[in-house]
Amino acid sequence: MSTATEHHDHPGFVAHHFDDAAQQREAATLGMWAFLATEVLFFGGLFAGYAIYRFLYPAAWIEGSRHLSVLLGTINTIVLLTSSLTVVLAVDAVKRGDRARLVRFLLITIALAVVFVGIKGFEYFEKFQHGHVPGPAFHLEHPYDPAVPVDQVELFFVLYFVMTGLHAFHMVVGILLFGVYTWLAHRGRFDEHYHTPIENIGLYWHFVDVVWVFLFPLLYLIAPA
């Protein structure tokens, strides 16, 4: 980190166009929240589509939901909530200037995220095996309620794959970002004075967690068999 400063009381990490570290941090935090607001609406459009079709085809939503594994969904929720906890602990570590603890919790977070995506991938694999992927091959071998039109259940699975797929994509992006930040943390880029990037990737990760908090009951828990 450069320690050369053009202004006397400026730490090296404060960019030229900011008055002080506090102003720089608030600008970055505001920018992150502005980004997250667009993310809320990015996912929000899908949630609105989900709401409309659940309202139109309630029986198909129950039928589709019963083909998902509540056990795997619950395990993944625990994994993701725990990864949010380890991110909080990582942020706490860097605020204390404890670099080893920071790197350790970032690595644990990455491991938990990989477990989540792995379980998600296994669920997708099962859906492919059972013909629950929307498209020409879509079919329900053993419907719980044969009276429900299969096309409407297919629509449920379209939303299932798009919503969880977009969520999983955010997870993968998060894993890559955590990888970069863990490397930078290992190199000593962050300390008790400068750690806004760690705080902001934490905000991103918690947001991904919040999305899953809504996806889990809406997809898996409509009316478990």
Binding site: G44, D98, L140
Partner: protein, 135 residues
């Protein structure tokens, strides 16, 4: 700074770790609640209860894990903006669909209120699209 790293700087933003673990315990408790409630068959109450629990979990994450309780009012307004916009999106969209009836124009899908025999459920299903309204 060479002063103790455990000074007020730590507590100014993050709160104590005891709060963090309490929030995490609360989140796990709410997870158990939402899974348990799903098996109770609450009927029409199922969705509002599940969403109430989800909002409580999201609130805990936003307030404590995402530090909104410690942030400035300006940051909180930024954080709220996305959710307020989402509320408007939902209110107007759902008000429209809730107001539709069987007398609405045929191009407007209305809620399917009656079940009928499935047109070709299974691998050999009919290729024609399922009409929006029960025939």
């Amino acid at each position: 700074m060479n002063a103790s790293p455990h000074d007020d700087h730590t507590h100014a933003h993050g709160g104590s770790l005891r709060t963090t673990y309490a929030v995490f315990g609360g989140l796990l408790g709410l997870l158990v609640a939402t899974v348990g409630v799903a098996y109770l068959d609450l009927g029409a109450l199922g969705l509002p209860v599940a969403m109430g629990i989800a909002v409580a979990k999201a609130g805990l994450i936003l307030a404590y894990f995402m530090h909104l309780v410690h942030e400035s009012p300006l940051v909180r307004v930024f954080a709220a903006s996305g959710f307020v916009s989402l509320l408007i999106l939902f209110a107007i969209t759902l008000a429209d669909f809730a107001a539709r009836t069987a007398d609405s124009p045929a191009s407007v899908p209305a809620r399917v209120t009656t079940t009928r025999s499935a047109p070709g459920n299974g691998p050999g299903r009919a290729s024609r699209p399922v009409p929006f309204r029960a025939a």
